[in-house]
């Protein structure tokens, strides 16, 4: 064997190093939605607004959000997002804005916009990378507290924040947070624009008041159409049906309970005494065994035992759907149709994760009747603007048979007609196809529920379209009688050489006959 020694195992070992997640995402920033300057602008706004809305709702505050874009150069923008949320206590500010994978939402099973603790810090990291500027944060947690102003940068090598400035300032807001970032970006109009994101956000969040100032200085205000906050989503424990073998093993190892039965009951949702005992019996593990002393082969038995026991579906108060009324009022405000319907499905479960599908249709009116229907996609109330083609929601719309509901639809295409389709998936864990959260993976359970909701709305649409046709028919028929019967008389007169009087009798008799049978 030809061996040319270049590096020994020891040489190789010396080169091994830990890689920080910030370094990783700096190199791979397209994964986070920062692949192009125009997308970067949208992503930055989106992450900040998502955080603001989440914070307001968790604190029970009706959101008032202000978004301002300022063009500093053709490819450099300042993004400012201000909210009336609960504010952030001083100590937390650096980590929230200067550390990737840090957040309150990742470990919780509860519907929220943010999930992974990457978004806003990644936006800051991108800003810093492209302009060298830190993120500027003003925040105040209450009228009795001082407002703080901080400048936070990220030390990507360590994935740790570094605070450049930190001072108390004057601020006329009683509570809230204001984030300012300067980044390389481009402002565009159209389907993927910040403008479009603002409209769609307003539509799915009718309880929020949003002021938006474009770089051109145009100001748009989306007033709220409801004063009700969405139902608060509650945190739940994982459901046994969704757990994976490796996770189960870790949960037992980390459990603080004294017995494996207690561990199952306290760490999972819907495990009662009975259920826990049935599982353990099926697995052949004594109830009293310490969870930390369950051997790895026994964990596997336990894992295989779970599906054999009937367990109640997980609680669904972890979800906070928009609701049919709110969807309707949002659409009515922003989609110029003349007929609307909305449907919120009962919650379902995939892999032990509760989720809920909502669908709205807007039809007719000033909507364009020539083109294809427009699909507006949401996950946890956040609009999805990119990657429509790869998204499970689009797939579900495409594979629904709209012809049955009186619409045109070419093979494999969207239905055509004056139609806007609104689809919202709410879940404790939305399976995105990438960290940039642009498209939803094709899980059959999700697709099925979306299709069911589309079908329910579709049937109502179909009835509406048919009703319209029926009314037109009715009118047409009434005029028919007056219009055509005289010609039957004419023709009979011509063929049989009837007298004009006889002809008129015939027409009158026919008219009476038809009017009578129509009334029956």
């Amino acid at each position: 064997m030809a061996v040319k020694r270049r590096a020994s195992a020891a040489d190789l070992a010396n080169r091994q190093r830990e890689i920080s997640i910030s370094e990783f995402f700096t190199k791979n920033r397209h994964l986070l939605g920062f692949d192009s300057p125009s997308k970067a602008l949208l992503t930055a706004v989106k992450e900040a607004v998502d955080n603001s809305l989440d914070a307001c709702e968790e604190a029970g505050i009706l959101p008032e959000i202000k978004v301002e874009l300022d063009a500093l150069a053709e490819d450099r923008y300042m993004v400012t997002v201000e909210d009336n949320g609960p504010g952030i206590i001083r100590k937390q500010v650096p980590k929230i804005f200067g550390k990737l994978l840090y957040g309150s939402k990742f470990h919780r099973l509860k519907q929220s916009r943010g999930q992974q603790g990457i978004g806003i810090s990644a936006a800051g990291m991108y800003a810093q990378l492209t302009t060298g500027k830190p993120v500027l944060i003003i925040t105040r947690t209450g009228a009795s507290r001082e407002p703080h102003q901080l400048e936070v940068a990220i030390d990507t090598k360590r994935n740790a924040p570094s605070v450049l400035k930190d001072k108390e300032i004057e601020w006329d807001k009683k509570h809230g947070t204001r984030v300012t970032m300067e980044l390389e970006a481009v402002y565009r109009k159209g389907q993927h624009s910040v403008d479009e994101y603002m409209v769609q956000t307003a539509m799915a969040n009718p309880h929020a008041r949003i002021e938006y100032r474009t770089p051109k200085g145009d100001e748009v205000t989306y007033e709220r159409s409801t004063e009700e906050l969405p139902v608060e989503a509650r945190e739940i424990k994982p459901h046994p049906y969704g757990v994976e073998l490796g996770i189960l093993a870790r949960m037992l190892r980390d459990s603080k309970s004294r017995t494996v039965l207690a561990a199952l009951k306290s760490d999972f949702s819907r495990v009662s005494d009975n259920v826990g005992r049935s599982i353990l019996k099926e697995a052949g593990i004594p109830e009293k065994r310490s969870p930390r002393h369950v051997a790895s082969r026994e964990v596997e038995s336990l894992f295989r035992a779970i599906p054999k026991v009937k367990i109640m579906a997980p609680p669904t108060n972890c979800l906070s759907p928009i609701g049919e009324d709110a969807i309707l009022s949002g659409m009515k405000k922003l989609v110029p149709a003349d007929w609307y319907v909305a449907r919120t499905r009962p919650p379902s479960v995939y892999r032990g994760n509760p989720f809920q599908v909502e669908v709205g249709l807007a039809y007719g009116g000033a909507l364009e009747s020539d083109g294809l229907a427009r699909v507006i996609r949401y996950a946890n109330r956040v609009p999805l603007l990119y990657q429509a083609g790869g998204c499970g929601i689009t797939k579900a719309v495409l594979t629904t048979s709209w012809r049955g509901y009186g619409l045109q639809q070419a093979r494999g295409a969207l239905p055509s007609g004056p139609l806007v389709i609104f689809v919202h998936i709410a879940s404790v864990w939305v399976p995105f196809t990438s960290e940039s959260k642009e498209a939803i993976a094709h899980y059959p359970e999700l697709l099925k529920d979306v299709r069911l909701a589309l079908q329910e709305c579709g049937r109502k649409l179909s009835a509406h379209i048919r009703r319209g046709k029926r009314e037109a028919d009715e009118h047409r028929k009434r005029t028919y009688i007056a219009k055509y019967l005289p010609y039957v008389g004419d023709a009979l007169q011509e063929i049989l050489s009837l007298s004009p009087k006889k002809r008129d009798q015939v027409v009158e008799q026919l008219t009476n006959m038809l009017e009578r049978s129509r009334k029956m």
Binding site: K483, A491, I495, Q509
Partner: protein
């Protein structure tokens, strides 16, 4: 020679052509009046008027072996006057009135004419030709039950008629004067007699032995220029593809009146066999309500047959996808071909050879090979013609 067995037979005309034509008019006119009267009576009784129409769908069609043509079945649909049918009813009766007027004024109208006439009917005017055609088809179907053809109703096709040459005198009574014109089809030089749009009023004098219906204009011109009809004492008819209604009706009337055989000479391909020959002989499935007037049950298939391709070593083309589809369809679904074993065998032979041949392919052996060899060969044994 078998094909000439009737040589010397004298002309046959059933009666005075002028009178016959008037008789046909009377039948049609009466049928219309009768229909209108029925409706009128119902109205007077306070019942809703209705019309009975044969169902014009393939499920209501059968191949009548004894009569030798596709016939419409007994299924009828009844159209009752209602709000939704009011417009069609009005149009149907206006159209019937028009027909009666045409008969009385000894005039006629094409589909297109009728459509434009309706433009004077106010609200009952046809929206488009399709609407007008549908009503006309309905009327045709309705009166076909009474044995009255569309041509008798004076609705004539706007189609080219076929061309005729040979041992035939056509008797054509003038619609106005009633004077009968005699047209001698041996007297057209290289030209020919062009069949008019409607032939109901025509009658014939002939001593010909047979009628030869030819697919292509080119082949017709060749036989005509070489006076094939003189040598063989026959009548040549150019179909130029699928024969028009007028041509089919012309052949049918001529063959019946003169009582002579009809031979078809077409390309050896599924189109020639099925679309041209089968239509000539038994009519078409989707116009079964009119076949009784237009079919030529005595037609026989002279050639070109798949066997001829081998026997005469003809140049061929491979069967196209559509040919194969058409042939398979004929074998599987066409009651005419299904009924005739000889035809099934011929089509199967063609499919197994995988080729087709045109009648002009005979030109490979010389332009006049068809006159000097092929047709004489064939005509010496008409018993071998395909049914």
């Amino acid at each position: 020679m078998a094909g000439k067995k009737k040589k010397g037979r004298t002309a046959k005309t059933k009666d005075d052509p002028g009178k016959r034509s008037m008789f046909l008019d009377k039948v049609a006119s009466n049928a219309i009046t009768l229909q209108a009267r029925k409706v009128f009576k119902r109205i007077e009784k306070g019942s809703k008027p209705e019309l009975k129409l044969p169902v014009r769908s393939l499920s209501n069609v059968r191949y009548d072996v004894s009569r030798g043509y596709f016939e419409i079945g007994r299924t009828r649909k009844v159209r009752t006057l209602s709000v939704t049918t009011a417009k069609t009813f009005a149009q149907t009766f206006k159209m019937m009135a028009l027909s009666k007027e045409l008969i009385e004024t000894r005039d006629f109208a094409t589909k297109r004419d009728a459509y434009y006439q309706s433009k004077n009917w106010g609200d009952a005017a046809f929206m488009d030709q399709f609407e007008s055609d549908t009503v006309m088809d309905d009327i045709e179907a309705m009166f076909s039950i009474d044995g009255v053809s569309r041509e008798q109703l004076k609705f004539v096709p706007d189609e080219h008629g076929g061309a005729v040459a040979g041992e035939l005198v056509v008797l054509d009574p003038d619609p106005e004067s009633g004077e009968v014109v005699r047209i001698d089809c041996t007297k057209f030089g290289t030209g020919a007699y062009s069949i008019p749009s409607t032939v109901e009023h025509l009658s014939f004098e002939t001593k010909a032995d047979f009628i030869l219906c030819i697919e292509t204009g080119g082949m017709f011109q060749r036989l005509q220029s070489h006076k094939f009809w003189k040598t063989w004492n026959c009548i040549l008819i150019s179909m130029a593809g699928v024969p028009t209604r007028a041509t089919r009706r012309f052949v049918r009337k001529l063959a019946e009146q003169a009582d002579i055989p009809v031979y078809a000479f077409v390309d050896c391909d599924p189109y020639g066999m099925s679309n041209i020959y089968r239509t000539l002989k038994v009519g078409s499935g989707n116009a079964a309500h009119i076949n009784r007037f237009f079919c030529v049950p005595k037609a026989r298939f002279l050639g070109v047959t798949p066997m001829d391709i081998n026997d005469y070593d003809l140049p061929t083309h491979p069967l196209k996808e559509v040919d194969i589809k058409r042939a398979r369809d004929a074998l599987k679904n066409d009651p005419f071909f299904i009924h005739h074993k000889k035809w099934r065998k011929a089509i199967e032979l063609m499919l197994s050879m995988g080729v087709r041949a045109e009648q002009q392919a005979l030109a490979k052996w010389g332009l006049n090979y068809v006159i000097e060899k092929y047709l004489p060969d064939k005509l010496s044994k008409p018993g071998s013609f395909l049914p």
